[in-house]
Amino acid sequence: MFGLNWDLIWRNREEFLWGLVLGLQMALIGLAIGCVIGLLVAFARTSRHRWLSAPAAAYVEFVRNLPLLLILFFLYFGVPMWANSALPRDVADLLILDGENTVIAGLAIYGGAYLAEIFRAGILSVGRAFVEAGRSLGLSGVQIARYVTLPIMFRTVLPSLGNTFISLFKDTSLAMAIAVPELTFVTRKFVTDTFQFIQAWTVAAVLYIVTAYAIAAVLRFLERRIRWAV
């Protein structure tokens, strides 16, 4: 194809695929934790109590305005240095993460801030009407959040969740900066060894596109399966 030799890539296909799988794995775990962080922060930020809303707002503004790469560097290089000098051995060990876990933690913290803003907008979009209906039945605040606000909010934010998921999945490529062998790292290594720039980056691009498209398709499927409308 294009007069290029694709044999070499084909023989190394497993490396590329495992790189993709590793990236997906980190993205999924990081996003799952990020969703939990995002939900808690969103509810905290919309709380009437300032001792809840103020730290939540600070977290979002602080993290959202940092590049993910910087967060990864900080977690990977900064935290261990500080932990080793300032904390007891066993506590420090907990905070010193390997490359993959650093990426997962970074995505969770970074994605959490973005998801918190999405969820917050969703919570605010859930009309007072439904909350009042819950109150008038005698539901507690926590019950209203769990059974009324959360499901209605989720329905509203599902389309924008797709964007964030895809964006954060692609951000796993930053993991190459701390030598985690995901797809971008594998590709660059292959290029350095073989000088087959076009073949290698084309394959990486196709794999990213197909996967991102699949993530979008899954979310669209979920959207279609919901029969109710707000």
Binding site: A129, S136, G138, S140, V148
Partner: protein
């Protein structure tokens, strides 16, 4: 309680022995500079149907919302079945009640809203069964069975599995009435429940409410613009204007022989604009 108290006057219940189900004493409420309720006194007996009429801005919806504390009142007292709503009284002062206690009183005063406010993510059946399951701790099967009965009572047996968005406004409002009934509340509050409906759908909702009113099992406080409904279903009609109760009494008297100029003006406007 067979006779429905045709001798009652402003703020007084007629059955002298039974304590009123709802007792409202000198209730004030202000939104910023605007005083919406300027000292309301009203008693509603168990099983009584009271219709509150009045122009928009007269405070009638606010009063209703104060009864189940969706709106906190500033002073005065509201008791439902003897229990002070939203506050504790300590040395003559109102101290806010805890969330849990407020929720408990709210469960006894079910509200039906102008815009239905059904939970959009639940089927009609689950909308009705939800409160009893989560608030009353009723077993799921029992709550669903009861919900089916209530949906049948409002004529919606075949819509149990439909989501609110798949129902007409009139159907949604009937589900909302069933949802309120499912809580077996001591008082049902209706907040202009037909105002958001297309004219051809008003009848089906009023029919359900007339049926409820005729059963006399449920204490109902109904804020409404439907004068025909007030005339036929109410035991007592209360006319509010400018944050006070101006007239109250049996529908024949209040609607048929209004004493105050304000009520006469209101009713005249009504006849000309609505033709009822």
């Amino acid at each position: 309680m067979t006779d429905t108290g045709h001798a009652s006057t402003v703020g007084e219940a007629t059955a002298p022995n039974a304590p009123p189900m709802v007792r409202i004493r000198d209730v004030h409420k202000r939104f910023g500079a605007l005083e919406v309720l300027k000292g309301i006194d009203l008693d509603v007996r168990q099983g009584e149907v009271v219709c509150i009429i009045g122009a928009s801005g007269s405070g009638k919806t606010t009063l209703l919302r104060c009864i189940n504390f969706l709106e906190p009142y500033d002073s005065g007292r509201i008791y439902v079945d003897g229990e002070l709503v939203g506050y504790h009284e300590r040395g003559g002062r109102l101290v806010p009640a805890r969330e849990k206690e407020i929720a408990r009183v709210r469960a006894e005063t079910a509200m039906v809203f102008q815009q239905f406010n059904l939970f959009p993510h639940m089927t009609a059946l689950n909308n009705v069964a939800f409160g009893p399951i989560k608030v009353r701790g009723v077993a799921k099967d029992a709550a669903r069975e009861r919900a089916r009965e209530l949906l049948a009572r409002v004529g919606l047996s075949d819509k149990a599995d439909a989501y609110p968005a798949q129902l007409s406004g009139g159907q949604q409002q009937r589900v909302a009435i069933a949802r309120a009934l499912a809580m077996e509340p001591k008082v049902m509050l209706f907040d202009e429940v037909t105002s958001a409906l297309d004219p051809e759908l008003v009848g089906e909702v009023l029919a359900v409410m007339e049926d409820l009113a005729a059963s006399h099992g449920v204490t109902m406080i109904v804020v409404t613009h439907e004068m025909m409904f007030a005339r036929e279903a109410a035991d007592r009609v209360v006319f509010m204007d400018g944050g006070v109760i101006v007239e109250a009494g049996p529908p024949d008297e209040v609607l048929g022989a209004p004493r105050s100029d304000r009520l006469r003006a209101f009713l005249r406007r009504f006849t000309t604009s609505r033709g009822s």
